[in-house]
Subunit: 338 residues, 2 copies
């Protein structure tokens, strides 16, 4: 090995001089070898191997019109397994298109989102995929992004018309609630969260629509929409069950709330606390739902597919194969009965 430890990365010039050719010939060889004699190509590739040369992608993309091959992805909370799957879906499609992803976690923080987007633009990303933190849209306006295409996932941003992939939140919540109503329940509690205002709102709307359609009372006493984590959800469920008129069923708008409700229900059963053993419908799947002490209907979705769709939408813009019109893809959800 002729490379010295601690040395800078070798450049195309060093490869060229080692192979006894010009940098242009090295460049051509690495670009596929069109119009380069095979024996010369071989000499070049040998020099590349010997020196451990890698093309400097940053220098490459410096030339105008050259894509950087990077996609900026900002999601709200990587600690949520669904977003891990989402990121995986994006990564897969990006890899299929020879792109890499720059990943940032916003933690539902507007300022951090703005910072990430700025940085992504500064790094010349070819496109952006964003789970927005539903603040305002100023930093996402086309004139701020230059000609970098943007795809929103999971949520919309008020006043911003761009390609978007969503779940069928309303329909899923509607059908899930309907299932409870069909089973004879009329007093159905709602557990939801605030953070994802957009999805939370949509899922609540589905719940509400089903309830009113069937003439079931929508009682604020059994609607809790402020729980961000499992513990808060547990407490909310507890308060609801301790009411004089507790709900006989629960619609939970997400994973975190479902787990919290389950904890509380499990505790009551273990400790013999009297009161309801409510049926549960859960938006978002969770493992071992079939082992729960009460029947759980699951409204599941494919976050990985959501990521893939977002990336596919983006690449159709990048390839220029997309129509000009802004598109929204709404992915179906599936319902699994206990």
């Amino acid at each position: 090995m002729s490379t010295v430890r601690g040395a800078r990365q070798p450049t195309i010039k060093e490869v060229a001089s080692r192979a006894g050719v010009s940098p242009m010939t090295v460049s051509r060889t690495l670009a596929g070898g069109r119009n380069v004699r095979p024996d010369v190509q071989q000499r070049v590739m040998e020099a590349v191997r010997e020196l451990g040369y890698y093309r400097n992608e940053n220098a490459r993309s410096l030339r105008p019109g050259q894509p950087s091959g990077l996609i900026g992805v900002a999601i709200t909370n990587l600690a949520n397994p669904y977003y891990g799957l989402f990121a995986l879906g994006v990564e897969e499609v990006a890899a299929e298109h020879g792109r890499r992803i720059l990943l940032g976690n916003t933690g539902e923080d507007d300022a951090r989102e703005r910072q990430l987007v700025s940085d992504f633009i500064g790094r010349q990303v070819d496109g952006l995929i964003l789970v927005p933190t539903s603040g305002d849209a100023a930093h996402l306006r086309p004139e701020r992004l230059g000609d970098v295409p943007l795809v929103l996932a999971s949520r919309r941003v008020p006043g911003l018309e761009v390609d978007t992939v969503l779940l069928d939140d309303v329909g899923g919540a509607y059908r899930g609630t309907m299932a409870l109503l069909d089973a004879g329940h009329t007093r159905i509690g709602f557990l939801g969260n605030r953070s994802s205002v957009f999805t939370g709102e949509r899922r609540y709307r589905g719940y509400e629509r089903a309830m009113t359609e069937r003439g079931a009372p929508v009682d604020p006493a059994i609607i809790a929409r402020d729980q961000q984590d499992v513990d808060a959800a547990s407490r909310a469920a507890r308060a609801m069950f301790d009411l004089a008129e507790p709900p006989t069923a629960i619609f939970s708008a997400n994973n975190r709330n479902t787990i919290g409700a389950m904890r509380e229900i499990g505790r009551r059963i273990r400790e013999g606390v009297p009161g309801p053993r409510p049926a549960v419908v859960s938006f978002d799947d969770f493992e071992l739902s079939e082992l729960m002490p009460v029947p759980v209907t699951v409204i599941d979705h494919d976050a990985r597919l959501l990521g893939r769709e977002a990336a596919t939408l983006l690449f159709s813009r990048l390839d220029g194969t997309a129509e000009a019109r802004v598109r929204t893809v709404e992915l179906p959800v599936s319902i699994e009965f206990p």
Copy 2:
């Protein structure tokens, strides 16, 4: 707004001419404004705002000695929530150091890992964090990486001496198995997986050590080490429980195997299949373990912290604050009894 839709990103020159100064003055202003008159700075910042200018980070890092501000992160399986948490930990620390992360998923594929590492180097990353796919080490040798520091996480690569963060797999498995032995079990089955050869091996070693130390027989009939997913784990558990002499307890080396075993145990209880209702120790936590039909002891760890430690190790190299010696950090695991 004077920016034209579809236009290229504005350059420092355009900002300069708009502000009536030279590009150097813009550069200095953006670098903190040392030795630039306040009123000139203001004019420059105004032009920056008006044009929607972002520094081109790629061009910036082209100059020799300039860091790219990128960290390459390759993990094996983003679909695993633990790796999502791991990535989050890395991202957090990177952000604290003003770095972004380039994320790739290897899917336990050697070729893909090599490809990702090449690409990361080509993009001039300042450092690499890798959950290795335990193939060979050729592409990770220092002479192949130039002077880019590397940190391994979760697993080692045979024959490669680099900074590494691990879990206390052996100790955790040992203590977990001991807990079962203390409870009077002697016939303890083992469920594990192949993919992560390294951790799988270590966890098996902890199990084996505890067993032999107490003189409990290590019976190949109740040791299954080939399950990659929940379904396979379920089948392995089923076969084990159907033996003439089934285990009275199960040590499960990971999440996937635990879920699979639980499914099978739940099925047998629901369907009234006679046979053991084994106690379970699970390496890796899972939610609602307290609601399981048999008592589950959980050996948990903090994947986010693992990611933070990996990144911290890397940045100590980058800052030059690290001692030269190769370091290994082994994070403790916690045991939660049912």
